[in-house]
Symmetry: D2
Subunit: 259 residues, 4 copies
């Protein structure tokens, strides 16, 4: 089965890019399932019910997220009730929402897990290794296709998790840095890996924010109110072909383009 | 003129990959000049005189570096005397060595500047913007070709510096994360940009270190002595074609491959 | 001469505590001059013109600050014009306001310098050592009494600066952690030192913020909007007796009490 | 019962100061039990079996620790077997050693818990709140006297944990910053609290390290090999009188002096 994984969708431009890309990519790559990170979908910070509906209605099967998931307060009203919108797994017991979901595409069960890193992150997440070990050991044995969005800052934490999970999941894809990396590969035991899918959002920006505001903050070291950039967009994602009988990645194809 | 910029060379594998690649790439792309980051050239940490000679003798014109430049103590014996080995510019006055160099290739003057970022770095560097403004304003006006290695952790700091320098330098290339990014582009005013050139070193590793040791540290949260990985290598670099009359980037070509 | 140095004044409770304390302490210790950190004076974040006037009118001679100085936007309207309100010295050239001031008390010239640390701070400050060396070397030789507020997070950075400045300034007092330390001393060459003056503000709080909100954030790792606590207050300060003829500290007395 | 809690013992000077202080303080305050942090007891980094024996033989009943506990490799040989030497509780399952111990003094059961913070720490600890909740709920009901060493960097994390545990433990004392704070108090529900006990070690130093080396690192931003300072010492601790019938703190007395 062919899975398309999409990096952090940022604001209006990101949603537009996603909606333009999906029908085309679906046809071109015979995509069976789409997983996209929606933590910045609502104006750069968080996600609303309306935007979630829009994205799920556009063909996204599962939305993952990260440190921005709780930015829009209304998310607390529906996070528990929408299995298709994930928050990081490694939050304390009692946290609203779900860190993983088991869904099915063409009768093939698929688990999607969303987990956050600990190095240089704005929140203190629980150990991602313990969390993943626990979920992986609790999945029904018929779930062979397992997709992990690891929302983390450093390359070393992400690559190490790739090696840690090699052969245990179908794909481990990084998000959060908003820049796509060129290191996609299938690890020796069959796990598709990329350090970061990159942002789907406004390309003339600093990871989605108006460049002049980020430069102003760097130059002055004074508080600056960030605004999401407009203008032309970019799309970042990865297509992984997974063998549904054993969950191994068969091939992968990285996608990155600007308008 | 064609410049090849190479990311952090890690250990023996990195040096082997570099030396194998240079003659081939030089021919294939008609390279005029090579700049490579050597901060991890000596077994993963720092650089020795012997290794510096080996790299410069293999066709590297200028070696840049970063936070690891002072790891091998012998570097203090020669850093002042070797203009072709740079350390980050934005260190306090009195620091041994040089943060930039003006050299020439085929009678075309070329400035290479090495500067370090401040977000999440293991040392406290001075402001890179002030440092760069100062150097750029002091360069002779006949120096049109200017290449900057920005050794930094976060995507946002690197991209913001790209926009800050757009039109003022020929290329700004990131190093330090050891993972090549897929976002190379020529910015609107003519500066070639990539967030990270990626590592030239052992590809079955965590940014150069044996994977099992990094995983052990993540799993146990106990001190682990890191060792540089062996095995097959990878090469990461960027070829930029610069117009020597005005210093603008004309085209660029990203190079990444594994053995 | 007797100088009273007061730690971060937090909100309404902090201002009340300060105003109640000053007349009493002034009499008890024969205080000649008062320096207080006002970065949290306006509801916990920043300072307004009205609050600045209130504090200066209550007997504070010089207000220092820190990372919160620019939180209230109106500060940009007057920071350049009020020499008695300092912002950290080690900000880029062109930053509004002043990092130090030379004033006089009973015809004794006194320099007050405000400088920020670099370890674990929310902004990237320039090198405090270079900044201080520069200011100290530029002060007129008749300025013997020199007081430094070092706004920094870690004990090591603060203590190291104490040793660095020993004999060159009359007092180096830390601020920013909002907890008074018990390590006040006169260093061997005559500099009065304390790692942190502590907060003057609501004592039943977490460094000024309502405890339940900070606990909520720790427990949930979700964004929580912080509010300044109310209730009983505390006062934190240090009285230093300085020999005006040579600027050496003669004695010091730490003050900390809760209502 | 009277408990003496002692902050990080640093090197030879720290051990000397402790051994000189214990008999005197034991007599002066009628101490029933001594808990001391030994993470820096062996030359500044870690602890050896010999030094552990020396400290336990000198009258320390329980040794706590922190991020340096695994610095001396020999600790792995005995950490599992010595209930009186604790490592942080909130490490992954399978970590050698124990995060808490239930002992008895004069037939009064006493629990000592060692837990580490997460803000700005050199390792990634699990959630201290979950860890503490779990241990506290598992202690036998006859254990009323509960002492917690919270090894953490920031004042806010420590104070927040104080409020979180108020009424549930007899004392929460901070360690790790090596500077004693002056904020000791009994919280409203009966928990004795101090943000940091401070270092027991060489007082003319930067948190135990030779000052000139720390300054050198700050000035140069180059790697410097740290060495533990020698010279006169300081002692930092807190005496808490706990009601053994209900575990509430009755009074407390902070101790800090230099040679
Ligand atoms: Fe994001
Ligand atoms: Fe994120
Ligand atoms: Fe490197
Ligand atoms: Fe580096
Ligand atoms: Fe403050
Ligand atoms: Fe502050
Ligand atoms: Fe310590
Ligand atoms: Fe520690």
């Amino acid at each position: 089965m062919k899975v398309l994984l999409v990096g952090d969708i940022v604001g209006k431009t990101g949603r537009r890019m996603l909606k333009e890309a999906l029908p085309r990519l679906r046809e071109e790559y015979a995509i069976d399932m789409v997983v996209a990170n929606g933590e910045n979908a609502a104006g750069g910070n968080g996600i609303t019910h309306e935007i979630m509906d829009d994205l799920l209605g556009s063909g996204v099967d599962v939305l993952t997220s990260g440190n921005h998931i709780f930015d829009k307060k209304e998310v607390f009203d529906f996070l528990d009730d929408v299995p298709a919108l994930l928050r990081p797994l490694n939050l304390p017991p009692g946290t609203p929402g779900h860190g993983y979901v088991v869904t099915a595409t063409n009768d093939i069960p698929v688990a999607v897990i969303n987990v956050a890193g600990r190095a240089f992150m704005p929140f203190q997440y629980d150990d991602p290794l313990q969390g993943l070990d626990h979920v992986l050991s609790s999945l029904p044995s018929e779930v062979k296709v397992i997709l992990v969005d690891f929302h983390a800052e450093t390359t070393s934490e992400k690559i190490a998790l790739g090696w840690y999970l090699d052969g245990r999941v179908s794909a481990l894809v990084g998000t959060h840095t908003h820049v796509q990396t060129a290191d996609e590969r299938i690890l020796p035991k069959g796990t598709a890996y990329i350090t970061d899918l990159g942002m789907t959002g406004p390309c003339d920006s600093v990871i989605g924010v108006k460049s002049e505001l980020v430069i102003q903050k760097m130059r002055t070291q004074m508080p600056v109110r960030f605004e999401t950039a407009t203008g032309p967009g970019q799309f970042g994602g990865l297509v992984v072909d997974v063998d549904p009988t054993n969950g191994k990645a068969l091939s992968l194809h990285r996608i990155f383009y600007r308008e």
